[in-house]
């Protein structure tokens, strides 16, 4: 049953996948298609670039050298970060060689030429800089004691400190309108015995409330778009340049209760909608503040090394758990069905009006391989984890026959990959047709003749190479 049905749903799966990977732009596209009016539209749009009522903060961490200890003074701690200093020195050195050239060619050209393509000039300079930097960094590996250095940058929503002050009704309220990075003589200080100060804990502490607030505001404005909740970028610069790696994660808030009609149907299941998580009594609870563990998120993970052409992409669904070494994590333990998106359909045939079938999606893992782009294999689904259930329509939330089988996942996976390839091929074909049509139109040559002409040109280029 599922095997055939897959042919009809894989396009939707692809839309899913891409929508989570490029959530903000997807959200924009959705909004364009179904524009809201007035304040609602603005409010919901703004969710994707930073809510009116939600503040954002950025955290940066650097790796700490192993040799530092609590007996050291801050000056000694800074001094001991030798690897970092070594890298900084090289960056400075290379900058010194290149920046003057950059300034000379770009800034001075403003005066002389009056016209200046900043992007081109800047890109050129950055490339030059990067090439030199890479060359110099590769020299470090010959030195003893050179260790990789890691940076982690996190963006996350944060609740206004003023709000927290007010809510806690603390000892010294309303102080946060004054700069807190200066020498203050009175400030609120935590009383708890578990003062979190590690990088992870700081993010955890400051962002938890913010994520909650952002999620609840999204519900309040009835957002049907995915929206960015938080992002993490990790960089490891290794003395072995090629081993330098990156890791990025987008935490995307899931839209609530959107539906998509499907045109195609097959002989076993007719899919009627994509059902995003929606609580049974959403209407009644419109202003309910969801707990993070309840609120559904998509975790879009990308990672790779400078050397590798393949970049794995993993999309997971569920509620936010904690912020750990690897970024934001999904709620541990069993994922609730209410936290993941699902495809809903009805079987075709005699029982069509009686049963509904849901495919709940837990994970999608994909591989983006730029090297394979030419053969239309750039994006390949590597892993899929579905949870399938069927229920009686009359009792929509009562399900039976739930199962989660690897074979089914593999079947879906295989079909999706075929579709991805088909879609890419289709896009290529469309593009080619457009090009040929355009040339034919401009030159008044027949389409077939244009194709022949292009073929011969490409052949000539290929032979020349």
């Amino acid at each position: 049953m599922a095997n055939r049905a897959l042919l009809n749903i894989n396009r939707t799966f692809l839309a899913f996948l891409l929508s989570f990977a490029i959530a903000p732009s997807f959200a924009k596209a959705q909004a364009d298609e179904a524009p809201r009016t007035g304040a609602d539209f603005y409010k919901c749009m703004s969710m994707n670039i930073g809510s009116e009522n939600t503040n954002w903060s950025m955290f940066i961490s650097k790796s700490v050298p192993e040799e530092i200890n609590a007996q050291m003074t801050v000056d000694e701690i800074l001094e001991s970060m030798t690897v970092q200093k070594e890298i900084e020195k090289i960056v400075v050195d290379v900058a010194q060689q290149n920046i003057a050239r950059f300034v000379g060619t770009s800034f001075s050209s403003i005066r002389v030429k009056k016209e200046y393509n900043f992007v081109t000039e800047f890109t050129h300079s950055v490339r030059l800089f990067t090439r030199h930097l890479k060359m110099r960094l590769s020299q470090i590996k010959r030195k003893n004691g050179a260790k990789p250095i890691s940076f982690q940058i996190v963006f996350s929503p944060k609740v206004s400190e003023t709000l927290l002050d007010r809510r806690n009704d603390g000892e010294v309220p309303r102080l946060s309108i004054y700069p807190t990075d200066r020498f203050v003589i009175m400030q609120q200080m935590p009383d708890s015995d578990a003062v979190p100060i590690s990088f992870e804990n700081r993010i955890q502490r400051t962002s938890t409330e913010g994520i909650n607030l952002l999620a609840s505001k999204s519900l309040a404005c009835g957002s049907s778009n995915p929206y960015l909740v938080a992002a993490m970028i990790g960089l490891t610069i290794s003395p072995e340049t090629e081993s330098s790696s990156f890791k990025a994660q987008l935490v995307v808030g899931m839209p609530m209760g959107i539906t998509m009609p499907f045109i195609q149907e097959n002989d076993q299941i007719r899919f009627t909608s994509v059902v995003m998580p929606k609580k049974v009594n959403d209407q009644a609870d419109i202003n309910k503040i969801y707990d993070i563990s309840e609120f559904p998120m998509a975790f879009v993970n990308l990672s790779g090394t400078l050397a590798a052409p393949q970049v794995p992409l993993l999309v997971r669904f569920g509620g936010i758990g904690t912020f750990g070494q690897n970024g934001f994590e999904r709620t541990s333990g069993e994922i609730l069905r209410s936290q993941v998106p699902r495809l809903r359909g009805t079987p075709v045939g005699k029982i069509k009006n009686m049963l509904s079938v849901d495919f709940s999606i837990y994970n999608i893992a994909a591989m983006i391989d730029y090297a394979k782009y030419a053969t239309n294999d750039a994006l390949e689904i590597k892993e899929l984890n579905l949870y399938i259930s069927a229920g009686v329509n009359a009792l929509a939330e009562v399900k039976f026959g739930m199962f989660n089988k690897k074979e089914i996942d593999d079947q879906f996976k295989s079909e999706i990959n075929k579709t991805i390839k088909t879609m890419i091929e289709q896009q290529t074909k469309d593009l080619k047709e457009k090009v040929v049509n355009k040339i034919a139109e401009d030159t008044q040559i027949k389409n077939s003749e244009v194709e022949e002409l292009l073929k011969s040109i490409f052949l000539a280029i290929k032979e020349k190479k």
Binding site: I49, A70, G104, F155, Y178, R182, V184, I185
Partner: protein, 792 residues
């Protein structure tokens, strides 16, 4: 030398005691208190300010926490009764536990002195009612507070050295030096009580270590030479400066200065189109056609009257205006054998005006090098000593040490000049001049927003406060360390320059070179200073500054504290307005006081001279929609009047010079002339008395160099401003504001729909509101600041 506590007691009684004879104000308290933060406490103050060191401190604390479970908990539990600041607790624990006992004593002492200073400040704030219970309590506590801080200081230096590095030592020290000192406990309780008073929205820090200085004569000078007449007069000279002198080096000027007389006649000559005498330059006219005093003219006249010293720190100094001022200064030192001239001028941030700034700096430097015995010195200030104005991430990308390494390389000279700004957002943005600052009679300070280049300054809209009285030496002494650091750096980079200055003036040290402007006589015997300064008027002055080390950064909290005292009206008249904290404080204030009206006039978003620069002051729009949504705010762009715009375009075409007609003010007025009273301003001179009578509570006016933007307010820029508590000064400012605000030729309402976004943005689906928000978020996210919560 008197102790600070004794001084505190003296101050409380001094004004009254001298009231019947010559009223004087004892300036020892403000000067000596601030001096402590520049000397005894400076190292710890610098550490508080260092992004990198505070990050390392966090790392140290994390390690302690791992080593000693519940470290934080016990740290706070044991120390919180005596220290209400996390920063102080953390640094104190670090210093003591790593054996830096001197510093651990410093950090605690600085804290107790700051608490005492807070009470002192509270007790003298002119905007807090004399009758209030809190103010009375603060007044009666000040003397004991300083006395206790002093006792604690002595105790701390002794105990920290003896107590050892253990965790327990931290509370032992405080038990012995604070618990046993009733004054400290009382001071802590009172400060805490004041801040928790219902309705208090004042600062959580000391705004000005120099307190409130009474007895000043002030004059708000508002007139500028922006009319077409000046534009046409000056532009050909501007062009000549750029073309003939733009690339002249110090050595080129020196070669022309064969004699002292030649120094005045060989450059910027009559043949080239410059005036014969500096005073002939039309810009220096003292009064304008309508009889009002002109900013440039007033300053020129004061310099002409100078007897002992002239101190100048101005961001832009150049062009024909700068050249004639330079000649005026040279004329003065040639005529007056006892006159000393000190100039610091930021050479790292010329922006687009290098071709005008370099000639004047190099001309003056050439004279100074050629004739060091003429007591004129000009140096570039140490802008690198401050923290970055950029978001903290800038520190992670490249630290100051690395940057210094790049910039110290002489091969990078071209880079520095071509870049046009200091790579980590640091500058000396002050616009301060002090004439005879050490003289009890004749001492004058000018604090405002005025620059001194043709292209940026001469035809801009600015205001300057002229001050005479006890605030003058306090203002001058704020720049002692700027000059000291500049001279030290000069002696490192150009040792022969400083050694010539010393030798030719028979001085033994840099400190002696600074003696004429050294109010505290640091070079010799401080006890000889007579701190009693004549009170020449009725205005009270409070100083807000971001200082040379970035250790004092009070411009922003001072602004916030001031707007929090507003009852009826706030006027903001500024080039830039996008500091998130300032704006959040403003929005909070508006929401709390539904009767409050706010009027804002800003430099226009688009450059009216250059249609390609539609977003010249783009950050100004980032919060306007939020403010306007409150319904209590009216905001306008400043417009260039048509007749002046025509003149600017003409000279731009004819001479190729672009004279910036910027709205360059940096002022805030609180509870001054209301919108309803604007009509009274029409007969400005006659109606001042009538307006004064309506102002029961003293209004306040901020005048200075600090824009209300986040770059300025982080402390990367050296800034100086004063809050003037004076009715006439506020009226002068407000009346001119209303004249412009109510004139359609001079201002236009800020409307989102008239923003004219580029088509690319509109195609991308970005509307004006969204654009505002993107800009706002860009500021907030990068600086880690917060705003917008109160807007729905």
């Amino acid at each position: 030398m008197k102790t600070l506590s004794a001084i505190a007691i003296t101050i409380l009684f001094s004004i009254g005691a001298f009231a019947q004879t010559v009223p004087t104000y004892d300036i020892s308290m403000p000067l000596l208190l601030r001096e402590k933060f520049y000397t005894s406490f400076i190292e710890t103050q610098k550490n508080f300010n260092s992004i990198e060191k505070n990050e390392a401190l966090k790392m140290w604390k994390e390690l302690q926490n791992k080593q000693t479970p519940k470290f934080n908990y016990f740290l706070n539990k044991k120390l919180k009764p005596y220290i209400k600041s996390q920063l102080i607790i953390d640094w104190y624990a670090h210093y003591q536990m790593t054996g830096q006992t001197q510093k651990s004593a410093e950090v605690l002492s600085s804290y107790f002195y700051s608490l005492a200073a807070f009470l002192w400040e509270y007790s003298e704030n002119p905007r807090i009612s004399e009758a209030s219970r809190e103010k009375t309590a603060a007044q009666s506590a000040v003397a004991l507070a300083f006395q206790s801080a002093q006792q604690a200081e002595t105790c701390l230096y002794r105990k920290t050295a003896a107590a050892g590095k253990s965790f327990e030592a931290l509370s032992t020290i405080l038990n012995e030096c604070a618990q046993a000192n009733a004054g400290i406990i009382q001071m802590l309780q009172l400060a805490s009580q004041l801040m928790n008073t219902r309705g208090y929205s004042g600062p959580n820090q000391v705004l000005s270590l120099t307190g409130f200085t009474p007895g000043n004569k002030v004059e708000q000078i508002t007139q500028n030479n922006y009319e077409a007449e000046f534009i046409h007069y000056m532009a050909p000279m501007t062009s000549t400066v750029q073309k003939l002198y733009g690339n002249m080096k110090v050595s080129d000027f020196k070669a022309r200065m064969v004699t002292r007389a030649a120094a005045l006649t060989s450059s910027f000559t009559v043949e080239e189109g410059f005036p014969l005498k500096p005073s002939d330059h039309l810009n220096w006219i003292l009064t304008k056609k309508d009889g009002q005093k002109n900013i440039y003219g007033s300053i020129f006249k004061s310099i002409e009257n100078a007897q002992q010293t002239v101190f100048i720190d101005v961001f832009f100094l150049g062009g024909s205006v700068g050249a004639s001022l330079a000649k005026h200064l040279i004329e003065q030192v040639q005529k007056k054998p006892n006159l000393w001239v000190y100039i610091i001028n930021d050479r790292f941030n010329p922006l687009a005006y290098e071709l005008e700034m370099a000639p004047v700096y190099n001309y003056l430097r050439a004279y100074s090098e050629k004739f060091p015995e003429d007591r004129l010195m000009i140096m570039t200030p140490r802008i690198d000593l401050k923290r970055t104005a950029f978001p903290p991430i800038a520190e992670a990308i490249i630290n100051d040490q690395s940057l210094k390494y790049i910039l110290s390389d002489r091969s990078q000279e071209d880079l520095k000049l071509q870049l046009g700004f200091y790579p980590k957002g640091k500058s000396d943005h002050s616009k301060v001049m002090v004439i005879d600052g050490k003289n009890k009679i004749g001492g004058t300070a000018y604090v405002g927003s005025k620059n001194f280049t043709d292209s940026s300054g001469a035809v801009a809209y600015d205001e300057v406060t002229k001050i005479e009285g006890p605030a003058v030496p306090i203002i001058l002494d704020s720049y002692y360390y700027d000059l000291l650091e500049a001279l030290k750096e000069a002696s490192r980079l150009a040792p022969e320059y400083v050694s010539d200055l010393l030798k030719k003036n028979a001085k033994a040290s840099i400190a002696q070179l600074l003696a004429p402007i050294d109010i505290l006589n640091r070079y010799a015997d401080r006890s000889t200073v007579d701190f009693k300064w004549p009170m020449l008027g009725h205005a009270t002055i409070s100083i807000g500054e971001n200082n040379v080390y970035g250790t004092i950064r009070t411009a922003l909290p001072q602004d916030i504290a001031l707007i929090n005292t507003a009852e009826k009206q706030i006027i903001i008249s500024d080039q830039y307005l996008y500091d998130p904290l300032f704006l959040r404080a403003l929005i909070e204030k508006i929401q709390k006081n539904q009767n409050l009206k706010v009027y804002i006039m800003l430099a226009a978003m688009e450059d009216q001279l250059d249609s390609a620069k539609k977003f010249a002051h783009i950050p100004n729009i980032s919060y306007i929609d939020t403010l306007k949504a409150t319904g209590q705010v009216k905001a306008k762009w400043k417009k260039i009047p048509e007749v002046e715009l025509v003149a600017l375009k003409e000279v731009s075409q004819k001479y190729g010079v672009k004279l910036a007609h910027d709205y360059h003010l940096k002022s805030i007025s609180v509870d001054g002339v209301t919108a309803d009273q604007a009509g009274l301003c029409r007969q400005r001179f006659q109606s001042t008395k009538e307006l004064i009578n309506t102002m029961i509570k003293i209004p306040a006016l901020v005048s200075g160099s600090a824009n209300k933007d986040v770059l300025t307010m982080t402390g990367g820029f050296r800034e100086f401003q004063v809050v003037v508590y004076d009715r006439e000064a506020t009226i002068a400012h407000d009346c001119l504001f209303w004249e412009r605000f109510n004139d359609a030729d001079q201002s236009k309402e800020i409307r989102n729909e008239t923003m004219n976004l580029p088509t690319e943005l509109i195609k991308a689906g970005i509307d004006e509101k969204m654009f505002n928000q993107i800009i706002r978020n860009a500021i907030n996210i990068s600086y880690g600041t917060i705003t917008g919560y109160f807007v729905d």
